[in-house]
Amino acid sequence: METRAKEAAPGKVRDESIALHARARAFVRAFEEGRESPEPFDALASDLARFQARYVAGYTNLVTARGLDPARFARAVDAPAVPTDAFKVARVSAFAEAETPIAFRTSGTTVGARGSHFFRDASTYDAAAVAFARSTLLRGFPERVHVLVLGPSANDLPDSSLCHMNEAFVRAFGLPNDGNVFFLHDDILDLAALDETVARILVTSDAPILLLATAFACVHLLDAVGDSGFRLPQGSRVMQTGGFKGKSREVEPDALRRDLANAFHISPDDIVGEYGMTELSSQFYEERGGGPYLEPPWARVVPVDPVTLEPVEEGAEGIARIEDLMNVDSAFAVLASDRVRRVAGGFELLGRAPGATPRGCSLTIDEILGR
């Protein structure tokens, strides 16, 4: 049966949240300064789980239904993960709507609501995103580079976490006076404007470009430029993320990497995959040179058995349980639908769990969502 999260004075919840945000931000600061994390991951994770079990109504229900006592949480894995589907049907937040002016929403599916992830403010999100991108995506780059985006601006798509992150990167890493750096409007690529901007950069500085792009925008670009290619300055780097969502033809990841490298006249090692989702506040980046996805010290990807939800043996394939200490006010542990495997230094992304294909003519959930 449904239970209710404990009623608390809003000021008390906010005070607890502020204290937890401060502890989360301390992880980011320590990382930026090259120091050890200020406390064990499990300690903050357990406190986040207790906070969320007190103030996020659905999480109270989930913990209670599992017969768990939050007071006994000592490790992150002791606390249940929230399925990403829950973000579509319930408010996953310790705060009321009036107190969370920022809402990132998942892209639409044919059935059901879009998932929503609410924030009181985005400062913790931004700090973590920028810090980890600086150390991975921009490793070896000057402090500021030309940042161009094959995607809409946050003004055009204010409820997209990806647009928000891209804009944060433009602010944090971009050179001033680059003018408009967003080259996708209503899913249409403005290749002429991109061409003009890149040509200007090639002529004036030949400095490397960081190009942030969705996979479908990359395909649109490849289709538009054809065999003639689209030369980027030497040393440029491309972050590509997300699926195709029916907005372009689908291309296998290895083929996309190869085709982009050929088109941009850069090394395939400079095509870097990003793994993130609306329900999280942290991101993961492929190690340059085709390595695994890397995690910041404040986020972990734990492969779990899809039925028991227990962690699988080291090296075995499982469903991604993502523990994100930056998800202070929502769900610190999220159960995604992606298959992953731990490898030395990080994790491999193995694609989406296919879902059950029934021995009959009843539609699968994936089929319903895909129609």
């Binding site: 049966m1 829950a86 579509k88 296919p354 319903i368």
Partner: protein, 345 residues
């Protein structure tokens, strides 16, 4: 092509139904193979054979079936994914339309179709020599009736010769709309859910309710399913089915109300969530029955049937769906394909 008269077609179809009844009478030897291939329990197979094979069609239903069956020289029936009893309707539909029928049973679930064709013993209804659904080289004329998932139908369409018509019968789901007589509705809905362990395209997986709190109705269905578990035990689920059920359970624990039986889940929430098949139901409140179209939204095109308590009620939408009485959702009249969606053709 020599056209058969309506009477001749009726005789051909009736003969199939007569032979099917004989096969059902001798079902004991068939059940172990069906348990193996379908994953249903032995009692689940028995229940499906005895209660969900349409062997007692009314004459007017068969007349409607024959009138709508069309004409073809030769029909190739490809049974790639379906509940096992669906082979009967597929063969009947083909035989009503064509003097020659070739049946390609599902490679995963061939037992019933093979047994049925042998029992019918009609020289003009043959089993295909090549069991591969995609092997179409020998097909040069007539029609292909393919039963399966969207991608299978698309592959067959792509591979078929241009002069061969492909009629696809895809996957789908059932829904229920309930606004009265809640105890009886819960009982009848549970009857519809347990058949084929909910793996049929008519199987209800979502119930829209008005006039009762969704959790209250969910509790009643939960009790009804628990009672049926003793009579018709659920069979085995695959790991993927169990994983999907686990995800649905945790989503509903978080976002709504969940009633959990040994072999079923019934959830209630204000938003639509599609549970996996395997005897799981999601209950969603709607203001009244006229709100059903809006509540279904884009899901409507996947709906094959809507179960209701009162056939006289005005449920004019979705138009393509069969409207059935609850408790009879899995027993549609033998008057044509179960799936009337245009997209399936």
């Amino acid at each position: 092509m020599i056209r058969r008269s309506a009477e001749q077609r009726l005789d051909d179809v009736q003969r199939i139904l007569d032979r099917t009844r004989i096969l059902v009478d001798r079902r004991a030897s068939l059940i172990p193979a069906l348990v193996q291939s379908t994953g249903l329990s032995a009692l689940g197979v028995e229940h499906a054979l005895v209660h969900h094979l349409e062997t007692d069609a009314k004459p007017e239903e068969l007349q409607r079936l024959i009138a709508s069956a069309g004409d073809a020289r030769h029909i190739h029936v490809i049974l790639s994914a379906n509940v096992f009893v669906a082979a009967l309707r597929a063969i009947v539909l083909a035989r009503a339309a064509a003097p020659i029928v070739t049946v390609r049973p599902s490679s995963r679930d061939p037992a019933f179709a093979n047994a049925l064709v042998r029992e019918i013993a009609d020289p003009d209804i043959r089993l295909a020599s090549d069991p591969s659904a995609m092997h179409l080289e020998g097909i040069h004329e007539g029609e292909i009736h393919v039963y399966g998932r969207d991608e299978t139908i698309a592959q067959v369409r792509a591979a078929a010769p241009p002069n061969v018509i492909v009629r696809g019968h895809g996957a789908g789901i059932g829904a229920a709309c309930i606004w009265e007589d809640f105890d009886r509705a819960a009982e009848n809905l549970a009857d519809d859910i347990v058949v084929f362990d909910q793996r049929g395209c008519l199987s209800p997986r979502v119930a829209f309710v008005s006039g009762i709190a969704a959790p209250d109705f969910a509790a009643r269905v939960h009790a009804s399913l628990a009672a049926r578990e003793l009579r018709i035990p659920r069979g085995t689920l695959t790991d993927a089915e169990r994983a999907d059920a686990r995800r649905y359970a945790d989503t509903l624990r978080f976002a709504g109300t969940l009633y959990e039986g040994d072999t079923h889940l019934v959830g209630a929430a204000s938003s639509l969530v599609i549970p996996p098949s395997g005897r799981h139901l999601h209950v969603v409140p709607i203001e009244n029955r006229d709100a059903l179209p809006a509540a279904l939204g884009p899901l409507a095109k996947s709906i094959v049937t809507v179960g209701v308590s009162d056939m006289e009620a005005t449920l004019a939408w979705p138009r393509h769906a069969r409207i059935s009485l609850l408790g009879a959702m899995q027993r549609p009249p033998l008057d044509g394909p179960v799936d009337r969606r245009e997209a399936s053709f």
